[in-house]
């Protein structure tokens, strides 16, 4: 099935995405881009004008979750977000991203300085946690404390460092920029960047949901087939309770995501979904590894691949910074108690 029309259910997205992700297993990045684009998966939230489906973020959730579950080695979240972020100011680029002709990525950490020179802007600085930059055509980077810039990766002055990070399927790169000149039109306003970051938190939670769900399934399967002391592991209450806690965490992630894309949701709900996903997702994947025993520590059992991805996503979204900022905003918004009635 190719996703083209209206009235689609999240479950249909999940099915299409799961199949497409499986098909991508042996393809190169560029082939994956075209394959995913053919199935309509790169333009779920982008406007019709640039070839997208113009659907709400909620429908990107099952797509990214399926990518997480299938350990897709493609910067899907970045493509989804850029297709929409660029649709106003750089529609041609957005169209190329949505159609899979152009590989685009985002540097989630660090920022660059920007100096205007006529119709151009010159960028200097370090950024990092940019997925698949080595092969990407363009890269979105944060400028100082306001806005972002889209940079072509073959520009002069760009140095892409060696891949680093825990995630094996999606390598992350640090990028040095020395006097990189870009057209002024490639600058995106602050609002576009902040919406993109907030949506990224929901999609990271979705990716973690996919990984966590897979880990729990693997752990559950192992617990019911592996026998010790003459019985399946799942006979033991310690194992049953450990799995039940993993299930509690998994449903917590799922419901927090559902709530974060609801009508009344704001930044708090989105941050909470991401943070809950990070905490529960790590606990679930680490717990799944434990239930596998020595098998869990082997390269071949895929639990570690999910664990790596969950931890990478947590760091990429700066979970501890987001948590502290959330606490700070929350504390800051509450007035000191007067002695009559403390909390209104």
């Amino acid at each position: 099935m190719t996703l083209t029309g209206e009235g689609l259910q999240p479950s249909e997205f999940a099915v299409t995405a799961a199949r497409a992700v499986a098909d991508c297993a042996d393809l190169s990045l560029r082939e994956q881009a075209r394959h995913l684009a053919n199935d309509g998966l790169l333009g779920v939230i982008a406007a019709h004008d640039v070839g997208g489906l113009d659907l709400p973020l909620a429908l990107a959730v099952p797509v990214v979750a399926a990518a997480g579950a299938g350990l897709l080695g493609f910067p899907l979240m970045e493509a989804l977000l850029l297709g929409r972020a660029l649709q106003e100011s750089l529609p041609r680029t957005a169209e190329a991203v949505v159609s899979g002709e152009m590989l685009a990525t985002i540097a989630w950490q660090g920022s660059v300085s920007a100096a205007r020179e006529g119709d151009s802007v010159v960028l200097n600085g370090w950024v990092a946690r940019a997925a698949c930059t080595r092969e990407a055509d363009c890269l979105l980077v944060r400028i100082g404390t306001s806005g972002a810039a889209l940079v072509s990766t073959n520009s002069n002055g760009i140095v892409v460092e060696d891949a680093a990070g825990l995630d094996l399927a999606v390598p992350e790169h640090a990028v040095r920029m020395e006097g990189v000149t870009i057209p002024a039109a490639n600058i995106l306003p602050e609002n576009t960047w902040s919406v993109l970051c907030s949506d990224a938190n929901v999609l990271r939670a979705a990716a973690i949901l996919g990984s966590a769900e897979t880990c729990l399934t693997l752990a559950q399967e192992h617990a019911s087939t592996r026998r010790q002391f003459g019985r399946a592991l799942s006979y033991n209450q310690a194992i049953r309770h450990a799995l039940a806690r993993q299930k509690l965490g998994l449903e917590g992630i799922r419901h927090a995501i559902t709530r974060s894309v609801g009508d009344e949701a704001g930044a708090l709900q989105r941050d909470a979904a991401f943070l809950a996903a990070g905490v529960y997702g790590s606990a679930i994947s680490e717990g799944a590894l434990q239930i596998h025993g020595g098998m869990g520590f082997t390269w071949d059992v895929p639990v570690h691949r999910h664990l790596r991805r969950v931890r990478a996503l947590q760091a990429q979204g700066d979970a501890s910074g987001v948590l502290a900022a959330l606490g700070r905003r929350y504390v800051g918004a509450i007035a000191p108690a007067s002695d009559v009635t403390a909390s209104r």
Partner: protein, 402 residues
Amino acid sequence: MTVIETEPPVAATGDLSGEAYRVAMRRWLRANLPASFRSDSAAFSPPTLPQSIAWEAAMYRAGLAGIIWPQAYGGHGRTLREHLIANQEIGALAMPESVNSIGKELAGPIILAVGTEEQKRRFLPAILEMRDIWCQGFSEPEAGSDLAGLRTRATRSGDIWRINGQKIWTSGAYRAQRCLVLARTGPLEDRHRGLAMFAVRLDAKGVRVRPIKSIDGRESFCEVFFDDVEVLQSDALGAPDEGWAAAIRVLEIERATNRMYRAWRFENELRHLIAACKSDPVLAQLVAERHYEVRLGEVVVDIEVLKAHVETAVDALVNGDRIGARGSLAKLHWSEAHQRFAALTLELLAQASLPLQPAVQVARRRFEAIYLQARAETIYAGTTEIQLGIIADRILQLSKGK
């Protein structure tokens, strides 16, 4: 009888829905909840029983109890979504717990599900009007987590049942008119087959109630002894032998929907804690440090996840989905998150500067009580270990076999 002066309910609240309904409920609660009932107020003094009864009856008249019960039985005939809205508003205020939550959230729904028409008309309005306060007689000395091991026996002769046995941990039995008793009609070996439910009057001959002092120094739960207590067939709820099935069915929904305000009360507590800290020079500085920003941020995330459990469960029920054992998830998450929070309140407030600010004194009084009461939250309504077992058995359906 104590009279609490409250405004009449907003005219024709029946026509309101959504945000308008929320605003009406919020206005009424904020205008009418006495300051002395609010545990975040310096004027707080725990309400007496008659005061609680009068307040809860007024809440009912204002549309804040029996929200989803049919109008024929005194209810307001509203939707579960409106029940959620009302509970969000109830939770947002530091209000005392209901003295009749067993009536409103357990006995009532069971009677609605299995009661006869006559029972519905007799029992349900009396619960909402606070004429009948109920307690729950399930646990026994030998039957706690293993409820199916209960021994209290009900034997029938003609139209009369005789009940013999003992219940324990029966919250509020000393102040209740009726006890929802789960008793055995068949042999002990039948386990959960052969259990029936009864609405037993606590002033009946042969009933003896003995309060037990709990860790907070209060006498809140009781032992209840039944010595040849006569109960009319008209007070038997549902068919004998169907007691367990009825109980489980109702408990499923109850676990997911009862005390729906919890998440929002939790938030009210967090806001109160922060407000109190900010009124103290030392604590104000502490909560602005990264360590406590992170710790308080974790509480915020816990609360958001709890709200997500509750709201998505309401959506599922409204869409007609079976709720199954899902209530165990919310109960487990809430009870543990609330305990973590309660410990954090003690830790923070212990660091207050001297002399104690009035707001810190108010907060300490409230949170010390909450800390102690929270210890029970992982015990009652099914312990943590039992909830984990339910999730493993019924949601994950893990094999127990060889």
